[in-house]
Amino acid sequence: MTDRIHIPEISRRGVLAGFGAGLLLTAIPIPVRADQPLVDAAIKDLFGDVPRSDGNITVTLPPLAQTGNNVPIKVVVDSPMDGPQRPKRAVIIATLNPRALVGEMIWGPGAAKAEFSTNMRLSGTQDVLTIAELADGTLWQVQNRIMVTVGACDTLSIRY
């Protein structure tokens, strides 16, 4: 596991603002980052108070993303596709993005296996939380740490 150095938000913003986009960034408010209460609210909205546990869910994310704009993510839920433990849907939550919920993916009756890949945006180094819901309401979750060199939100006000 990599140890991460906690960089206080102001100075990290200053560091990132200095590179390239700096002139305009200092004049425009950076989007508020999601934090624990917002993440909790997003999860409660989707799943209520159902307890979440570790399960057969594997998420593949690169350890380092050069740019947060396009980060490939692959979610695999290993559970039989028939019966009460059939994966129904999965949600991706980026715990420090301005909006915690990234997407909700639902496997329909025609799905062969509970697996998908997509690309997401990440505002910076953070934990990505993926929660899968099975047919009987069980929730499995997994948390992945990913380092992001230039966050998606830091590219918002460049002229060229």
Partner: protein
């Protein structure tokens, strides 16, 4: 004193020959090699590479007829642009200057099809340059810097080595002197142009060489030149010369 004049000539000639004849001070390394494995895989994936969406746009525009029913495809069959992008920028006798691919496309569209020129960074021009560039994918970069193009090349070389902007940096300051070093958390590449137009993840869209130059100029707090200006075309020629030895990768994915 009398001996010094011919000596000076020899020194100058040797210097010029060293620069023009010896080639790139750096063995060329493509921007591809500075990508993470995931981004490399994405560039190599012909389906998922977002740049291919623009190649498709270009293919559609290629066959789109004008009011008289003529299109690029009327003279140039599908797939006939192989090797074209690898030669650009190149000297154009009619226009009397070195032009790049975007300018060639616009000139052809105007003179042969009577169509309005396309703006830089428009979906249409990016699509057409991506489509044409893609047909040179895998071919070696092949620009000529001799003869009529020499003056343009020299100006481009001066631009590359000239310091500019509030940060007082030249292209060479990073892309020659600090290749492989870190600029904050990013690794500095050689700034090659063998993959343009690129899908730049930072921009989340396709971009041309000139947009890249403008971005870089802004990054050192220098006022960028207009996209399509001769300064940038000259620089583009010099940059493509630096890429000699690399293969065209259009549409490349860059961070």
């Amino acid at each position: 004193m009398k001996l010094l004049a011919p000596l000076a000539v020899i020194v100058v000639a040797f210097g010029a020959a060293t620069v023009l004849g010896q080639g790139n001070p750096l063995p060329p390394v493509s921007g591809y090699d500075f990508l993470t494995p995931e981004n490399q895989a994405l560039q190599d994936d012909d389906f998922a590479n977002p740049g291919m969406l623009w190649v498709e746009t270009g293919a559609t525009l290629w066959a789109e007829p004008n009011a008289a029913g003529q299109s690029c495809a009327s003279c140039h069959a599908d797939g006939s642009m192989q090797g074209v992008d690898a030669r650009y920028p190149e000297w154009d006798d009619k226009l009397g200057r070195v032009i790049n691919l975007e300018q060639r496309i616009n000139d052809e569209r105007q003179t042969r099809l009577g169509l309005e020129p396309l703006e830089y960074e428009s979906e249409a021009l990016l699509g057409l340059t991506a489509y044409i560039g893609n047909q040179s994918k895998g071919l070696p970069v092949d620009v000529k810097i001799d003869g009529a193009a020499a003056a343009s090349f020299e100006r481009g070389r001066e631009f590359f080595y000239a310091r500019r902007g509030q940060l007082d940096l030249s292209c060479a300051s990073c892309h020659e002197q600090h290749v492989g070093d870190h600029l904050r958390a990013e690794v500095i590449s050689q700034g090659q142009t063998n993959g343009f137009p690129i899908y730049r993840v930072l921009w989340q869209t396709m971009g041309s060489t000139h947009r890249m130059f403008a971005w870089c100029n802004e990054a050192v707090r220098a006022e960028p030149y207009p996209l399509g200006s001769q300064e940038y075309v000259d620089l583009e020629l010099f940059e493509r010369w630096r890429s000699l030895g690399l293969k065209v990768e259009t549409p490349a994915l860059r961070r």
